[in-house]
Symmetry: C2
């Protein structure tokens, strides 16, 4: 693999993706940890090829880490402060990993490329967490789902990016019907409600919630789901085709 500095990328433009998943009443974000000494977490990101739409670049980055395509994806903000560079991060990285990053590891040209100011387009993605098998790149030590409320301290402004992504998600959830991207193919009404409660961090009345969602007229009711529990079996739903 060539270094980014040698690739045909647009310079000083990056993409950062906040990948949201949902599991057991928790809104989660997929965050890789870098395979270097020092604890460096960073939201999946990358650069844009000269002949590539920025949306396509975001898709490519997402596919790399999640293994799935056709992901729901939304551009939500451009981070463009002049002071926005990775100088501090890279210097720390090098000082903690001298054997790998000095001499041949990271030459002057590459160092300069990485530490320049970058304008970053923020995307958030909504995925069915069951369909994803998190993929490490060759720069990752691990990649894991973290509760949005318990994100590790990430490099640069990545924690702020994640926070802004959550804001944007909440705003668009009300207007568009995108929440279902976080759920599996079929689901019960209670699961939908719990998802909303998790995202907005507040409770909804059961009966009114059901009415509201069904009134959207986008769900079709399937068979009941018998769990073996000693109570009425809930219906399963899925998005109308």
């Amino acid at each position: 693999m060539h270094h980014p500095s040698e690739q045909n990328y647009i310079q000083q433009l990056s993409i950062d993706c906040v990948i949201f998943g949902y599991h057991e009443k928790q809104l989660k974000v997929l965050v890789p940890k870098l395979d270097f000494n020092g604890d460096f977490w960073a939201v999946p990101g990358g650069f844009v090829y000269q002949n590539e739409d920025i949306d396509a670049a975001a898709n490519r980055i997402l596919q790399e880490r999640t293994g799935i395509s056709e992901i729901y994806l939304e551009q939500f903000y451009v981070f463009g402060k002049a002071a926005r560079n990775s100088l501090e991060f890279i210097d720390k990285l090098i000082s903690l990993n001298p054997e790998r990053l000095t001499g041949n590891g990271l030459n002057r040209k590459e160092y300069d490329w990485f530490t320049r100011r970058f304008v970053s387009v923020g995307y958030y993605a909504l995925v069915d967490i069951n369909k994803v098998t998190p993929q490490k790149t060759d720069l990752d030590e691990s990649i894991n789902w973290y509760n949005i409320k318990e994100l590790p301290g990430m490099i640069m402004d990545h924690n702020a990016i994640a926070a802004k992504a959550l804001d944007a998600l909440r705003l668009s959830l009300d207007e568009k019907l995108i929440a279902f991207n976080l759920l599996p193919e079929t689901f019960t009404m209670k699961e939908v409600q719990e998802l909303y409660e998790t995202i907005f961090d507040k409770p909804f009345a059961r009966n009114n919630f059901q009415k509201k969602i069904l009134d959207l007229n986008v769900l079709e009711r399937l068979d009941k789901k018998f769990t073996g529990a000693a109570n009425k079996a809930p219906f399963l739903y899925r998005i109308k085709k």
Copy 2:
């Protein structure tokens, strides 16, 4: 003035500003016409200096054209298609202006710089049209306010950018209290209503509208405005400090 290609700009990144004004029941956009043969209109735009926030760059571009600072400004979308370049436009420009743009006018380096693919951050601005004295740059033949519904055919995707800006404006108008940026210091309730009716292109009931706006609790009522008309004088309002 130096050519952009020689300036210390971020490469392949541009800013495009849709400047909204309001006058006589019309939502208007400030559009310069280029000082070249051929009818080329283009939304005010520019590039970002290495040590400049993108918001600051947008502000600078706005100030150049409007003469005022402290403009309400909102980033609304990033236009990042791979095919997004000005090749067609520039070639047409050169063919229609050979005397100025061939030879020393526009050298190879500059031509390459201009015709590369650009990722553009779209901003919209809301200004009090009375406070603005439209300023030509040395590349402009004229600069004028055009009704949003009667915009000239602009270069590249600038008409699509303007359309998207209007969409974004409508969306945020409901949530935030930004409409008043389009009005003068003091205004009557009817003027507010007409502004809303213009932006959303639909009528509002007078009494209900008044109630809705006053219930926002952001306006303070001033003296009446006597116009000499043979009817009840309306109150003037202004934003509470």
